[in-house]
């Protein structure tokens, strides 16, 4: 009896390992180009740095994507939509944040409309530093993410699911309510 359970566990682990191998080298991005850091993505994607050799590519919708890129500052209105997009993604999902604005607010640290710390609202797997981060930094960040996926460290989505209440509380505190319904949103 124990043996079969163990066997199943082993199969599950083996399967997990295989799928992690595939996941690590096939990362589809959803680019939510919120801020200025987005300008560094074209270089990272095209001939100079060629993101596709890591198996990365742009995707059109959150359902298909594996990683959500937050490229820069987030106003409250954007945060609302980012949370919606993030929750629509299929698991496992990862989140990469660009620049200091996502870290501590950056130059918008005192703005009434821009949040300071993104990790209060969504779990972030990798930060990429620089204002804006150079394409080398971007590629390095993605390499880190791939390494983390391989080492089973990119567990932001699990953290989000486990601590959903805490995240939800922070989100509500900043946003009032998550979804907005007015004459523009019927």
């Amino acid at each position: 009896m124990d043996n079969t359970v163990e066997k199943q566990e082993n199969i599950r682990k083996g399967w997990d390992g295989i799928s992690r191998f595939f996941r690590a080298n096939s990362i589809w991005m959803l680019m939510y180009c919120t801020g200025c850091c987005a300008i560094e993505l074209p270089q990272a994607m095209t001939s100079r740095y060629d993101m596709e050799r890591l198996g990365m590519g742009p995707m059109a919708t959150p359902r298909q994507a594996d990683v959500l890129l937050i490229t820069g500052y987030l106003s409250l209105k954007t945060l609302r939509r980012i949370i919606y997009a993030y929750e629509q993604m299929s698991t496992p999902k990862y989140l990469v944040a660009f620049g200091p604005c996502t870290l501590n607010g950056g130059i918008y640290y005192d703005s009434h409309a821009v949040i300071n710390r993104l990790d209060q609202y969504l779990p972030i797997d990798v930060y990429i530093a620089g204002c804006m981060p150079k394409p080398e930094a971007v590629m390095n960040g993605f390499n880190d993410l791939i390494g983390m996926i391989k080492r089973k460290e990119a567990n932001g989505w699990k953290k989000y699911e486990q601590n959903k209440d805490w995240y939800r509380k922070n989100q509500i505190q900043a946003l009032g309510e998550l979804r907005i319904k007015d004459e523009f949103h019927e």
């Binding site: 939510y32 959150p62 939509r81 919606y84 997009a85 629509q88 979804r179 319904k181 949103h185 019927e186």
Partner: protein
């Protein structure tokens, strides 16, 4: 015993049942509707039992009945459709203005169809033909529009009168009304043959709704009571196929006119009159397809699709080789089942929601899954996709067309075939898939007795798609008695001019493919169930399901390409206007209150009376 189980008995019985239904409906509506179910069911059973009596001749007073094999085929098909639809009558008694008259006329129309298909004489054929026309003409205004009935009658009268002229002309030449004899005599003489071909052919074309007589179909089918549309489209329209079959095959037009073949050389010989029919069929495929793509109304869309499918049938009959005529018969069979099922599912939707406008519906799959499946199977058959019966007939027709090298006809048929994907998908997407409107939140599945005929028709469609040779064997016999070669059927395999088809194998492999896909689906991680409104909206918040439902003007970019094309509808409207103007002119000059005109006419009359003999 001989009389009890015979064609006249069925016809008389149906008339009697009609009267009974009328009387009973006055007492109890449901009971009256039940009579239509029982009556048509009993007639179907009797007709199936009569299979052994094919070619028997009976008479009822002056009317002779002869059960030919094609007559049996058509009768069984009609009875099947009437029987299936009659279940719906039970639920429609409250919605129809005159339930008693409806039940009466329903059974009268059925008696008329059976009579017309089994008549021995032309006179009997004409009487029963008119019975169908009149019965359905009175039923149609029970639906949405009286105008539809007028249009229907105008077209039908044209066809009937044309047929009457042909019948009387042939009688004056041959001295007989017997269908078989008259047509045999006619085929000896090219002129007689041409008259018979044109007059009876026109009656068939009008009935089947081929261009330029297609206008009554969407009007009548779209506006008839929801229970009668499947009868019109699945059943009565096929009577046109019967008339066309009489004109083209029973009187072997392809032999009579063989001398004036259009394209000589190779295997392209095709008589001009037949080619005209083929051409009309091709045009109606294109017109029907384009108009169906444009329709906003569920029922109108299926009606226009009947126009397109009528085109296939006419082409198949007019090409007049065994494969094409067999294909046409199979197509009549498949399309009767499929379009009846499609109209029945439309009726079920109407029963629950009260509308046929596609833009007002949506997402009904979550409330009426069975109706959805019925419609799905019907459209797979209508679009000619395996493993449904529509595929077999289209395959046979294509084989024949390509074998003959008919480039333009085949182009039209290909267009109609691919175009049918467009229009059949439209209701699927707009009515059943997509977002469920909040006002249909509490809609329920169709009631049980409505499900029965719908499931029955779907299963038949599937059965004859997987094992079409059950029908094709019989069709082959029909072809042989009509003087054509039989079909080449070998076990489960159908052979065409340039290829073979094994529908059972195709279905089996499709089943295997589906099974593999199912396994792939099951072994992978389970999906998370989300709400319909939780879709990708570029992360914007939308709360109204109607706004997220893409259904109005579905093929707008495609429609825009032909919105300015010449329209038959406008042409007829202009014609009507012209006739009205002419009538006004006549009434102005002859029928008014001016004394001098009246005096003038009185003088004319007196002169006519006085010298009438010598004038």
């Amino acid at each position: 015993m001989d009389f009890i189980l015979s064609v006249p008995a069925i016809v008389v019985g149906l008339f009697a049942a009609a009267v009974l239904a009328y009387l009973l409906t006055k007492a109890n509506k449901i009971l009256g509707a039940l009579i239509t179910v029982l009556g048509s069911g009993a007639a179907l059973a009797a007709m199936l039992m009569l299979k052994g009596d094919i070619n028997s001749v009976q008479s009822l007073g002056a009317l002779g009945f002869k059960l030919t094999d094609y007559g049996w085929f058509f009768s069984v098909l009609m009875l099947l459709i009437f029987f299936s639809v009659s279940f719906f009558n039970l639920y429609w008694m409250k919605k129809i203005i005159h339930p008693a008259a409806y039940n009466f006329l329903y059974l009268v129309a059925l008696a008329g169809t059976v009579g017309a298909f089994t008549a021995k004489d032309f006179i009997g054929l004409f009487i029963f033909w008119e019975t169908i026309v009149w019965a359905s003409m009175f039923i149609i205004p029970f639906g949405k529009s009286r105008n539809a009935s007028v249009v229907y009658y105008a077209f039908s009268a044209f066809g009937s009168l044309s047929m009457l002229f042909g019948i009387l002309y042939l009688y004056s030449k041959t001295g007989s009304f017997d269908i078989q004899y008259v047509l045999e005599q006619a085929s000896m003489n090219t002129t007689y043959a041409l008259v018979a071909f044109i007059t009876i052919g026109i009656a068939g074309l009008v009935k089947i709704g081929v261009f330029p007589f297609h206008l009554w179909l969407p009007k009548a089918h779209g506006n008839a009571p929801d229970t009668f549309s499947p009868i019109l489209s699945g059943g009565l329209v096929k009577a046109g196929g019967f008339a066309a079959f009489l004109a083209v095959i029973v009187m072997p037009s392809y032999k009579v006119f063989a001398s004036n073949a259009l394209f000589l050389g190779r295997e392209l010989a095709m008589p001009v009159p037949n080619y005209i029919l083929v051409f009309l069929g091709a045009v109606s495929i294109v017109v029907g397809t384009l108009m169906a793509i444009k329709s906003e109304d569920f029922k109108k869309l299926i009606a226009y699709s009947s126009v397109a499918n009528g085109g296939y049938i006419i082409i198949g009959i007019a090409i007049a080789d065994s494969l094409s005529v067999g294909g046409a018969f199979m197509h009549m069979f498949a399309h009767a089942l499929a379009s009846a099922a499609a109209f029945l599912s439309a009726a079920a939707v109407v029963h629950r929601t009260g509308t046929t406008k596609m833009s007002e519906l949506g997402g009904l799959i979550h409330r009426m899954p069975l109706t959805y499946l019925v419609y799905l199977i019907a459209i797979i058959s209508m679009a000619g996709i395996p493993p449904m019966s529509g595929f077999i007939s289209k395959w046979m027709l294509f084989q024949s067309m390509i074998g003959k090298g008919m480039v333009f006809t085949a182009a039209a048929a290909f267009f109609g075939s691919i175009g049918s994907f467009l229009y059949v998908f439209r209701p699927l997407s707009a009515v059943f898939l997509g977002q469920l409107s909040p006002k249909h939140e509490s809609v329920k599945e169709a009631p049980f007795l409505m499900q029965v005929p719908m499931i029955g028709l779907s299963l038949l469609t599937l059965l004859f798609g997987v094992f079409p040779n059950i029908v094709l064997r019989f069709i082959s016999d029909i072809l042989k008695t009509a003087g054509l070669d039989g079909l080449t059927l070998n076990g489960l395999v159908i052979s065409g001019t340039n290829g073979q088809l094994n529908p059972s194998l195709v279905s089996l492999i499709f089943g295997i493919g589906f099974f593999i896909a199912l396994i792939i689906f099951i072994i992978h991680p389970k999906s998370r169930k989300v709400d319909l409104m939780d879709t990708y909206t570029a992360s914007e918040f939308i709360y109204t399901p109607e706004l997220l439902h893409y259904s109005y003007a579905f093929y707008a970019p495609f429609e825009r390409l032909y919105e300015n094309a010449p329209s038959t509808e406008k042409w007829y409207a202009a014609l009507i206007k012209k006739i009205e103007e002419a009538g006004q002119l006549v009434s102005y000059t002859f029928f008014n209150n001016k004394p001098r005109i009246i005096v003038f006419w009185m003088v004319c009359a007196v002169i006519a009376l006085l010298w009438g003999g010598s004038l």
